[in-house]
Chain length 252, copies 6
């Protein structure tokens, strides 16, 4: 109970909602957080706004696949990766490159919020000069989160509280204003994350890239890990930002 | 054990080091955090670099007191307030208005770090256009923290790890680049903080000012407190910044 | 005549335009500025883009009111508060939560600009992670202000000059990048502002909140008020930002 | 009485203190503000911390002058320019390139503050990657201003209030984080400023450079000058920043 | 071959794409860069999203011209100026004041990217509080550039690489967050730029304004020009920002 | 001749000055740039302000070495690494942890500037919350660079021009405000850099860390490398920032 809120009732495990632009994003960037939550018996729901069918599927296009085939491939891969991590995935099929934010899309996501009732939300940061779909997904995630709290907003389900939000790390962090504000120790679920990455066959070149990144963030975790000098050598980590203040009962 | 480190051994309670420019600073700005830690049986050490004898004692000067008298008054008040909160206070008597940073002052603080072995450090933010002593104290606190970690630095005692740092809230937060990154729920120790404030008789006008601030930060805490809609109405809080990333095993 | 412009002709009093997202915003955040201007015999027009019927009327929704009833309640309260302050209020009924910016909405506001011919414009800041309607209203206000200056823009009325703009203070200022750049002394109209706040019965919990804020900004005003040490003790103030440079004939 | 303070007594005209690093700085950057204040019968005191003898006197060094000769030339030029503007100049001779900030230098400036009792202070901005003396002078100006307000600070004279501060424009504004926050109309004293610039014979190449700058800032002034469309065509201006909030009784 | 890429084949000269909001923008802000590229035998294509018919043609409106007449005048002027510089201009006629970004407009620009295959892209910066059309054009330019790289995006032509982007200087640079990151020496094509400016008869007041600016940026170029002290006295320059990292084989 | 300056005379090869806090810094962070310059026959001089004897030599301290022994080890390693890269190294032995900036230290570096006459300068960024010696070295490097340009500054040798400056990448870039503004392709000298890293035996754990970093920056280089889609797959790179504008005759 570190965040100043009352404990959930025993029958309702903690719930995490991950909102991403493309089918693969949740694996590279938040696979560790998802696997950790699942390993604690919590519920994790991934809302993929698009399949990444146009912008993140170059290999399939070069092979001459059709749009529908590509969506199918991406869906299958993402479902396999989500299952590996222990999460459920929901596809919005809103169309990528560009992903266009509309009140209707936001409204669909409000419904998910009110159904999933997240204790924590993960999404993209709000800036990415290399891929406009990522900020579009993040804005939709944040807008829907605010609307889902309003009793006057006309959507099914009970209004929710204000869950904390974490931005996961973009591909080129320094160019997106990303600064690691939270370093999450994912050592114990690292193998699971690696297996989930390997479900994404078409992006094989990213497997090692994101393994190296986890090592790098692990080194930084140890540099910031407090007085415990004997921390095990090989720590794997993911980095996050917090757009809203942390609420806590203890400074640590 | 939310921050990814091994638990302290049972015989060593957690240790907090508070580094401030003037004798009263720790009460107004971190009294809640100090009282909370003390209430959990932890050790809190306050390093006051000066008594605030020139810059924060206008009433006493107007009454015609001498420099030594004023230092004595400030020391007594601060010791009383610290005792009320459950903390120990150490005075450096480095001279205020201006507090001048020197290698010797930093060195004295390194020795305190190695002796106190803090699990967490609280100090001023690095900018304050209204009072240069505050940034000077913060820089000294941060410099000493780094030196205390180096085996090659010639000071007594064992080297320490890298304790997390929190900047407490300055008097005019928006003018100092202060953004609440952590909201600490101090409701249960509020009465203790109020009593400690009342030890500082000469600054009576600040008692209500900092009470109002705690209410205000409490309102914000509730606006960011996650899905718990039924949070008790009157929450008191203190705000902090984190200059270093949070290390954690759970996103919440 | 501190801003380098020629005096208005005697028959045209100064005109202020306030553009807000919801019906209550102008009271909490700019009530002092409005009352001050009105007390000098100036004209103040408030453009409320929505009634705040979905996002700012939780109590009424809990009481089971219909959408139209709620709009009616909000309109009545806002008109009463505006009359108390000495201002006129115009409702756009553009729909809140979310307030969606459209060329049509901007066009309607251009017409108001050309009719009201403001000497000064007040609106929300451009960032607010807690409420997207506020930035949407601010963007509309700024866009319309630019279009209203262009002779080629097809709207009724004469083109206007470039009135200075002030952003009033949001609910969680540090989270919105708000820094007090202007502190307005509202002591002499404080009672009027308080009365206007009390017209908003459903938000009774904010009456004291915004009274405390006025005290706090008043303390800061005195800390920045120049060489006059004897300034009266109880000063009430409102804080503003300036997105455009101040134009002046004297530095003070 | 636009800034919320009581009027000065009739016998004490307003007082302006200008703190600069080098002998010529006040002419190029604040000559208009100085001439305007003087033209209103106000007192202006310029504190030049150095003569700019090493860093700003390349021509004289190339002519083979000695250090003392160069100081003499710079002093004479600066006195002539100050007299042209209607101001008095005080030299600290603290040594330039680099200007080193010391408690002693700050203390000498505190004494000037308490004697001059400024209603407004002008100095350099705090960043300048092309000339470290400028930020050093600005820091000294700001530190001394705070100390001069403290009754406990041991210097001659009565303590002062908190005068507003304005940063004048550096040579390469965008590289110094300079943003025009205040545009001062200096049209009516432009000829005086030009004459003062022409007192600085060795920097003849800057005469036109700073004339062009005044035209440029004048164009911007008109773009921000409010509803007065008929503003005279040739407006000359100087730009300033405000590190502290403006205090006012009217938004304009 | 300073940027790490293979040389273009001899038969394909380098290609530059300039994306602007209004018909005159490319002359004032990038005329030097365009003339330089053309003088090296390179291809330059200017995509004007609007004629600036409403927002940048006040004189013509005051003369009572019709919308179509004004578009014609602007088109003619812009074509003449482009020819003077040695570039080709394409008009999108998307409507200005406000320029509204739509997927269709972006799509039309993607087609231009794939056809022109730019080695370098010039456009407006992303912020401009004085003219919302400029950021709208810049966002369209950046979005289209990303889409044009995606094999999955359904547009005619081959996908392109990721050309470097440069933001040219806005009218009020400090208010738009503009910092000169690149200073381009345009001395040798200055006369050509001046002639192109003189094609824009209705904005005669800007001819000298932008001449002065080129002198000013030239002075700064010399202050940053490295060890060559003998650089010719009268250097003319244009300033640019880089939103993406420079890629190079040599640091200079 | 991409930067707008006249070519060096044939007999004077280009000169690079690298200013670092500790003996190992130049290898990890700028080894590629140094090896590239040397491979082109240019002169590279490394000014190490300290040996890193206290702060960067934990292993040696744990082995019980004396201060002088450690300095000797570090000197030897650094000289070997510099020789591998093709550079010369100069030790200032100014004492680390903390490295204290003094006018005397700056003066010694001014003399090196006037002797080496650099065409380009490499140093640390100005912020590093993990190691205050790095910013201290950077400030000294920048201050000395300005003084070395002034004819009035009393040091041996001819004054220099204003060489461009590059900040190399710190260990935790996002925490130091580091954004890759320049990506330098070091593929062809990678083996040399790796060999130089292997001269630093005590920091073996960094060999792979900085190899991974070069891969990562190489991936980003390719993402920003312009229209050349066929760029070789395995590109190694180093990232830099530019505190001063780039001066150029071509935008690429």
């Amino acid at each position: 109970m570190t965040n100043g809120t009352a404990p959930a009732t025993p029958s309702t495990p903690r719930s995490t909602l991950v909102v991403t632009a493309h089918a693969g994003d949740f694996v590279w960037r938040a696979g560790g957080a998802i696997a950790l939550a699942a390993s604690r018996g919590e519920r994790v729901t991934i809302a993929c706004l698009t399949f990444g069918e146009r912008g993140e599927s170059a290999t399939a296009w070069r092979e001459g696949r059709s749009l529908e085939e590509i969506k199918g491939i991406r869906r299958e891969e993402a479902e396999k990766a989500a299952a590996t991590l222990g999460a459920e995935v929901v596809f919005f099929d809103a169309g990528d490159y560009p992903l266009i934010t509309t009140p209707e899309l936001t409204d669909r996501l409000v419904a998910v919020y009110r159904q999933v009732r997240p204790d924590v939300v993960l999404t993209h940061p709000l800036d990415d000069p290399y891929n406009g779909d990522h900020p579009a997904a993040a804005r939709t995630a944040l807008d829907a989160r605010v609307l889902a709290q309003a009793i006057g907003y006309p959507a099914e389900g009970e209004i929710i509280g204000a869950p904390p939000v974490f931005f996961f790390e973009p591909h080129q962090p320094e160019m997106c204003g990303f600064r690691p504000e939270v370093l999450l120790d994912i050592t114990e679920v690292w193998n699971t994350k690696r297996k989930a990455m390997e479900c994404l066959a078409a992006q094989r070149h990213l497997w090692d890239y994101y393994t190296d990144l986890a090592v790098r963030r692990g080194v930084q975790l140890k540099r910031n890990a407090g007085p415990n000098l004997g921390l095990a050598h090989k720590t794997m980590a993911e980095a996050y930002m917090r757009p809203y203040p942390q609420v806590t009962e203890v400074l640590d």
